[in-house]
């Protein structure tokens, strides 16, 4: 089964869960006074879940032709031939950045993010990396904090 139909399958599952929540769990919580209303919080989601399930089914049964992977920008059937490792590593780096931003502080976290990012991509001029990352970190912190007036915790949270 082509990827687009697999996606339709998972979206269908999501809509089944969404629809189940809308049809069977939401109305029980409704206060009696609101039950006289012609529209309930669950009304619109109910319509959406039916529409979403039908559309997902149409895509799932292959009503429309799947795209030819060779004609796409990235052929997902040969994903390993691309720089998959770099992409995954950078995504993990982004997640780590999200987790350490508060405890480590903006300056250190951003400097490390930019430097490690360049290293992952294969850059080996260490001095250039250090200078570019440090200058960019300081510049962005100044822009955001002073020019835009949005506070970013610059140092580790314990300070």
């Amino acid at each position: 089964m082509a990827l687009d139909r697999w996606i339709a399958f998972f979206v269908l599952l999501a809509f089944v869960i969404y629809g189940y929540t809308a049809f069977f769990t939401m109305d029980a919580l409704l206060p009696p006074i609101m039950q006289r209303n012609p529209i309930w919080p669950s009304s619109f989601p109910k319509i959406l879940s039916v529409g979403g399930m039908l559309t997902a089914l149409i895509v799932l049964v292959g009503f429309e032709k799947s795209p030819n992977p060779d004609a796409l920008d990235i052929n997902y059937r040969r994903l390993t031939e691309y720089k998959l490792g770099q992409a995954v590593a950078l995504l993990v780096l982004m997640a780590v950045y999200a987790l350490v931003l508060r405890p480590v502080g903006f300056l250190a976290a951003t400097f490390l993010f930019l430097s490690i990012g360049s290293l992952i991509l294969g850059e080996r001029r260490y001095l250039v990396i250090a200078i570019v990352s440090a200058a960019a970190t300081a510049g962005i912190w100044y822009l955001v904090n002073v020019v835009l007036g949005i506070f970013l915790q610059p140092l580790p949270a314990i300070f």
């Binding site: 895509v59 009503f63 990235i74 770099q86 982004m94």
Partner: protein, 507 residues
Amino acid sequence: MLEGLLIGLSTTLSFKNLAMVVGGCLIGTFIGMVPGLGPMSIIAIMIPIAVTIGDPSAALILLAGVYYGAIFGGSTSSILINAPGVASTVATSFDGYPLTRQGKAGKALTIAAISSFSGGTIGAILLLAFAPALATVALLFHSSEYFALMVVGLSAIAAFAGTGQVFKALLMTFLGLAMGTVGEGVLFNMPRFTAGILDLQGGFGFITLALAMFALPEAIYLILDPNRSRQADGSSNSEVKELRITKSEARAIAPVIGRQSIQGFLIGVLPGAGATIASFLGYAVERNLAGKEEQEKFGKGSIKGLSAPETANNAACTGSFVPLLTLGIPGSGTTAILLGALIALNVSPGPRLMVDNPQIFWAVIMSMYLGNLVLLILNLPLIPYIAKVLAVPRNFLIPFILFFTLMGTYIGQNNATELLILVGFGVAATIFRFADYPMAPLLIGFILGPLLENNFSRAMQLYDGAGFIWERPMTLALLVLAALLVLLPSYRSRRAQIRARGVADAD
């Protein structure tokens, strides 16, 4: 109208707003040149900054400037290194890059700039004529018509998604609408679909979603395929010199500009069509209209072939503001992001905008003229220097793009969990893109969802049920139109598919 123009002019000509136009155009050109970063990503990154400004006119002027700049920057990288930064400038590279290889890069850039300027300006004049008239009509609409109109807009976006894509686009729309219901709605004072997670109480952040749907997948594509950012073979001949064009060349492109401004504008007004379709159609039409001799030159460096898509895409950008400003319904991903920004700034676009906030309405229109002027007189001489951004090594560029998506999300929400949501949705959106699912309908659905539900609920309450659908003929007509829009193209493509199968079953 004259009064409105004066209001707009006085708002736009304040020092702050002029700085916004110039700054927006420069930033847009700069980033738009980076292959892979389209106007949607750039505007999404800029939104937190725009929201911080606080003044809605200034913010919208900034974002509109970024939008034009991005399209112009995209044309520049199309012409200089054959790597379109933006889908709507792909057609520009057909004739722009051949001109560069002939050593006429400067001339090509000038033609592109003049065409963009004319297309944008003529588009703005048409917008000036169209928008107030349309807004007057739209003031007569009730919530049931609004509801129906939004349904038409959403189905039109699916219908224009292309052959074999209609139901995928529709599925994405439903997904976006469903995601829009997460959190505490305006109408009902109860959290929905939050699964007890406190961070979801306020719903998904729209900036997070916009960045995850567009900027992050683009960046991941750039990482996966290093050739994507360097498709050119000889970047040495991209040296820009001799910006002048001759009189006869000007005479040759004048009718093209005239025709494509109007055609591009009208396509831009249609929901779902937008600048990309306008540019390809403009190219095709001008090719058919050209004489036999000229037709041969198309694709090998024809100035008409360069002028047509450039005029059309800018006119279409302007045209796409018509439904946004008059109906509050975005016809494209970019205008959807702008709508989100407006809502974040406490402005509700729609026919009331002209009555309640005339200075915003007119300032945006006036800023379009100025934005086009800035692009022409400021950016053109700067192009050789701005083009240096194309030489930034990928090893440094990509971490910065990723970092800007993170910052865009973080500044808006000040919440680190949002960054994890960004990464998660970004990965999902990339997988969706692998399978060629269009992402713009999801975002448009997400932004329109709450508005759609509000109007639907209001109509239901007014008519004590779904009676408004058949009691209001206009609503019924619009809903029938919406159904036809989805069903007709898919029916036709299905028949074409069956017919094709009858001919050759090799696939």
